[in-house]
Subunit: 253 residues, 2 copies
DNA sequence: CGAACGTTTGAGATGACTCAAGCGTTGTGG
DNA sequence: CCACAACGCTTGAGTCATCTCAAACGTTCG
């Protein structure tokens, strides 16, 4: 195994950060760091994995944003997940051996690869670390379910409010949002593909959110005036993210 | 551990059936069977798990249908998964320790419970079986993603065609569909909650499917005249189910 | 400076929704 | 065994959220 370039800081630093009940032990983190076989920088809009490809490694996102998406036969696209730094992007591909969707960078990224053979060794030798990796994939699944709720039951303004609230919470957990403002370098078309809307309608909804004083989305920055208000608008309840704050279920949903 | 009643056949018989690459070895199946602490029959419309509950066991569905769903603050409901016999309904709750959704029987069911402490033992002592359990939860996640595509990008008639095609494929794998006809004892309201539509509209779409000669849904029986045609209508491609037939990715999506 | 890309706005079309009512089926208790 | 209540299915009429098509404008980058 070659020694990957590592410019400062640990690669896995943000992996499961904020998830206190499954925080990695120092030795587990060391095991994972050692399992990284390669580190790469890639430009925006690069396809990492195409659906159906046979996979032999999994990708940890160190910096930048990645989307996972499904295209229909007419080229319409539905994004099924947005990955932020610290996410193990295609760990699903380890037990499944192939993906049902594409993995594409939204921005320039830094990624770390872990070979499946090294994951095999981890599952043999480190049952608790294995359960934490499993947990990470199930967090993804929990987000999928919340997205299903979003697409199935919320209208356009609620969907966007919900997505921005979720992204704010996730980025806050890894130190990339102060709770009100964060960088999100994606286009309105990306937002449309996430929320199951057209670009035109996303544009109108963003104007309404601006007019209502709820939040602004301009030059890749999201500004949320009142996060609680926005969350209310989007029926967002952070429980499913399993983050430390506001984690007790309440009366409502 | 008490000896659970087992009226004929193995409880785990249908678990991962049809998933040849991860078929359970006889000894793994025995381990899983022995891990069952209790078997229960429950009537239709029984809530097994409420969102936020602390979980100490997971549920294997032996017979019947179960839904997993999220309710919004006005009581609107989005079903995020339908479980069929052989599914490990809330295995997600094992690493996560609580669920973000409700688990409710759609029909009368027979379920088998496995305590989390016994799953702990399995993860310690049986790494390959553990990976297969992990795999089972990731199949769920793959279905979640396909459902996201369905809700985000398909219109009403396509959504229902897609759902019925998916259900046909899943039931065929466990011997509950002959490829054209199967029992699906749910209401049009259930279908609406699955497809993100209203009951009224589901009714109209079902009539159109009938008029178009694609399929009928009457007295809990689904009859698909031409499965390929229906799949085409719903942009359904079984790849994401990881079943043995029609598993090669093709030119389209 | 021009091309490519992303954002914004308008006008008109439409798929799905809401509200409302009638009908069919099933199960239950008098 | 009939009557009625509860539930699910069906249909109609009118409304509305979102889409489609089209065009103009702003920004970035080579």
């Amino acid at each position: 195994m070659n020694v990957p370039e590592r410019d400062g800081g640990m690669l896995t630093e943000r992996f499961l950060r904020g998830h206190n009940d499954v925080a990695l032990l120092p030795e587990e983190r060391a095991v994972l760091e050692r399992a990284v076989s390669e580190v790469k920088k890639l430009p925006a809009r690069t396809t990492l994995v195409r659906h159906g490809d046979a996979l032999h490694q999994s990708t940890l996102l160190v910096d930048g944003f990645i989307r996972r998406s499904i295209d229909d036969r007419d080229g319409q696209r539905q994004t099924v997940a947005v990955q932020v730094p610290g996410d193990f992007v295609d760990l699903h591909g380890y037990p499944l051996k192939k993906l049902d969707h594409d993995v594409v960078t939204l921005t320039a990224v830094r990624v770390a690869f872990v070979r499946h053979t090294d994951l095999d060794a981890i599952t043999r030798e480190h049952p608790t670390l294995t359960r934490k990796l499993w947990y990470a994939t199930l967090l993804d699944a929990a987000m999928h379910r919340e997205w299903l709720f979003r697409l199935g039951r919320l209208d356009a303004i609620e969907r966007i409010s919900h997505f921005l609230s979720e992204t704010n919470a996730r980025l806050k957990a890894i130190g990339l949002s102060d709770g009100h403002r964060f960088r999100l370098p994606i286009t309105q078309t990306d937002l449309a593909e996430i929320c199951g809307l057209t670009t035109v309608h996303v544009n109108r909804v963003l104007r309404q959110l601006r007019d209502d004083g709820l939040c602004t989305f301009k030059s890749s920055m999201v500004d949320i005036a009142d996060p609680d208000q926005l969350a209310l608008r989007g029926q967002f309840d952070a429980g499913y993210l399993h983050l430390p704050w506001r984690d007790e279920p309440e009366a409502g949903r």
